[in-house]
């Protein structure tokens, strides 16, 4: 499968980290997610959970059901196994965003900082498919890459105490969406009315690692309200582009 060498790092007696790389790059990350899929398929008795990240995989296990040595050899076997060709479908999830106005109070600052117009910022931010490297920090929160370089903007000097759920922001070279209302220091440039995480849904998280996100600028406040009402009732149908 991945013929990258796997390095195990200790994580106590009920977990272990399988490290495939220590940089942020799509190829290393794809190998992490391939390993996750391979482990899921095997249904190894004693594995409790998997936590994939940029370049590594944390494995929670029960040593009463599988020994750490047996676990390590199973993981190495799977990592060295035949290459899986199924994962060449690219899923791009469309996230409708209302840029600027009350929903994007920092967009003017981002534009000035980049020596661009607000319209140029919107076009640039919404022009690419952002790869979702991993989820973490909060339920449904995606770690996206890579923000177009001109849009990189430092965090707010003074973080806000209250950033509404669905807010789309920029912090240095990262961009992302806040799944829930929380304090934060990101430059807020817009907002999506979709709920990134909802326990009522069969699959609570809207986004998954390995997918891509495309921000779709909305035409106006009416469209925002229309979609928000559907999303709140869990009636909005997400648009997903699948490309081979």
């Amino acid at each position: 499968m991945n013929h990258t060498q796997l390095l195990f790092q200790p994580a106590g007696d009920k977990a272990i980290i399988a490290e495939l790389g220590n940089t942020i790059d799509p190829e290393t990350n794809r190998q992490v997610h391939s390993l996750v899929q391979a482990i899921d398929r095997m249904e190894i008795y004693g594995i409790l959970d998997l936590v994939p990240s940029y370049g590594s995989l944390l494995i929670n296990f029960d040593p009463m059901r599988i020994s750490i040595d047996k676990l390590k050899s199973r993981i190495v076997e799977l990592n060295n196994g035949p290459i899986n060709n199924e994962t060449s479908v690219k899923r791009v999830v469309h996230l409708p965003v209302f840029y600027g106005g009350n929903h994007g109070p920092d967009i003017k600052f981002v534009a000035e900082h980049a020596c661009l117009t607000v319209e140029e910022v919107i076009n640039l931010h919404s022009s690419i498919d952002y790869f979702i490297y991993m989820m973490g920090f909060a339920p449904g929160f995606p770690y996206l890459g890579e923000l177009p370089k001109n849009l990189a903007t430092p965090r707010l000097q003074t973080p806000r105490t209250h950033i509404p759920a669905g807010s789309v922001g920029i912090a240095e070279s990262q961009t992302g969406v806040y799944p829930t209302t929380s304090p934060g220091g990101w430059q807020v440039i817009g907002r999506t009315p979709l709920k990134l995480f909802d326990v009522r849904r069969k699959y609570p998280a809207l986004l998954l690692a390995g997918d891509f996100v495309r921000f779709i600028p909305m035409t106006g406040k009416q469209e925002y309200e229309r979609i928000r009402k559907l999303a709140d009732k869990n009636d909005y149908e997400i648009i997903v582009d699948t490309r081979i």
Binding site: Q9, P10, A11, G12, D13, K14, A15, I17, N22, T23, I24, V36, L48, D49, L50, V51, P52, S53, Y54, G55, S56, L57, L58, N60, P63, M64, I68, M134, M135, G136, F137, A138, P139, G140, F141, Y143, P179, T180, F197, V199, P204, A205, L208, A209
Partner: protein
């Protein structure tokens, strides 16, 4: 009749918990579950439940609860002075409560978090496979929140629910948590990020539990830990018990509600049997660290699993033949027995988590009997 728990007073922070929510960390959902998992599992096994049934986790100042039908309960973890109808009640054993009995708590005598187990387990819906509460995102338990005044909780009774009388295995006392906590750790995963003396600082210093401590993690105050490059690493998974060292150099021990991933360096991981000890510590108490190997940590986990298994079966835990304690005199080994002739082995030395036990015993050699005291110092 299904017993109901009527919440007369909720206590400061009482939540429904089980062993935690697994399978969803990859979408950023924390495991949650009991902060002291061993105490929760014991609470369940003592009333005949599966060890993953839902219990109430009670913090510092406990609730006042009326039971609307006869039922069996158990109270484990911290000693928060539980009483039933005003009378002090036993912990770490199953207790029969009568219809309309009232359970309440008062002084915090030892430890911080107590667990109320009830035959059948607390009945709340499964959310993503678990009944644990994750308050920050309003997930699970009773509506995603702590229990409140006037709430009514029901219990999952089925025809299979059995009322049992159980206690800790013979020779095991109620755990005591104390005020000074020696926490065993496994060094890693980010050993490269720390200066050589950093591990020595961690192992050689006395830390104090800060008030900034909760189910997410415990912050410690004391000698700062130095980094080689800086406190940031590529975000990776957070194991339970991970000891993060952020920019200020002060250790933070991650517990049940920890974020699934983190970008701060992690110097070590608390071993699984000691995570509960951290969760039973109170701000102002001390923490010191001791390094152990993964093998030693797994051995300790096995001992703990044996105690839990013995609760269910009611069996005594006795050691194997080579587990016996012997005294060697002039090259000859004599087996040590207690006053009533019971052989003393390393595993029934009589303490669950207490530190030592003195046995008055005799050894008879060639017709002469010698009296002496044996102080069995458990490894715990």
């Amino acid at each position: 009749m299904v017993p109901l728990l009527k919440i007369i007073e909720p206590g400061i922070l009482t939540t429904v918990q089980d062993r935690g929510r697994y399978g969803y960390q990859r979408i950023g959902v924390p495991v949650s579950g009991a902060a002291d998992e061993y105490a929760l599992r014991a609470a369940n096994l003592l009333v005949g439940n599966n060890d993953n049934a839902a219990c109430l986790e009670i913090t510092v100042s406990g609730p006042t609860i009326r039971f609307t039908a006869n039922t069996h309960i158990s109270i484990t973890g911290a000693n928060l002075s539980p009483t039933i109808d005003g009378k002090p009640t036993n912990q770490w054993r199953s207790i029969l409560v009568q219809k309309d009995s009232v359970l309440s708590f008062s002084d915090m005598k030892d430890g911080v978090r107590s667990y109320l187990g009830i035959a059948g387990g607390i009945d709340v819906p499964l959310v993503m496979g678990s009944r644990s509460t994750y308050i920050k995102s309003n997930i699970g338990g009773l509506g995603g929140r702590p229990i409140g005044k006037g709430d009514i909780l029901s219990v999952k009774l089925t025809e299979d629910t059995v009322y049992v009388e159980r206690r800790l295995p013979h020779g095991y006392d109620n755990p005591e948590y104390g005020k000074d906590h020696e926490i065993r750790i496994v060094i890693g995963p980010h050993t490269r990020a720390f200066a050589d003396e950093s591990v020595a600082t961690l192992l050689g210093s006395l830390y104090t539990v800060s008030g900034d401590s909760d189910r997410t993690g415990y912050k410690l105050e004391g000698p700062p830990i130095l980094h080689t490059v800086g406190p940031d690493v590529l975000s990776d998974g957070n194991p339970l018990g991970a000891i993060q060292i952020p920019g200020d150099g002060l250790p933070r021990i991650l517990l049940a509600d920890r974020g699934t991933t983190g970008g701060y360096t992690k110097i070590a991981t608390v071993i699984s049997v000691d995570v509960g000890k951290v969760a039973q510590a109170l701000p102002g108490q001390t923490v010191s660290f001791k390094a152990v190997t993964i093998e030693e940590a797994t051995e300790l986990l096995l001992e703990e699993e044996q105690i839990l298994a013995a609760i269910s079966t009611g069996e005594q835990i006795i050691g194997g033949l080579d587990d016996r304690i012997t005294v060697t005199v002039d090259g000859k080994a004599f087996e040590v027995t207690s006053e009533n002739g019971e052989p003393i082995s390393k595993s029934n030395t009589g303490s669950g988590r207490t530190k030592s036990k003195i046995y008055n015993t005799q050894a008879t050699v060639n017709g002469s009997t010698y009296d002496f005291q044996v102080d069995i110092n458990r490894r715990r």
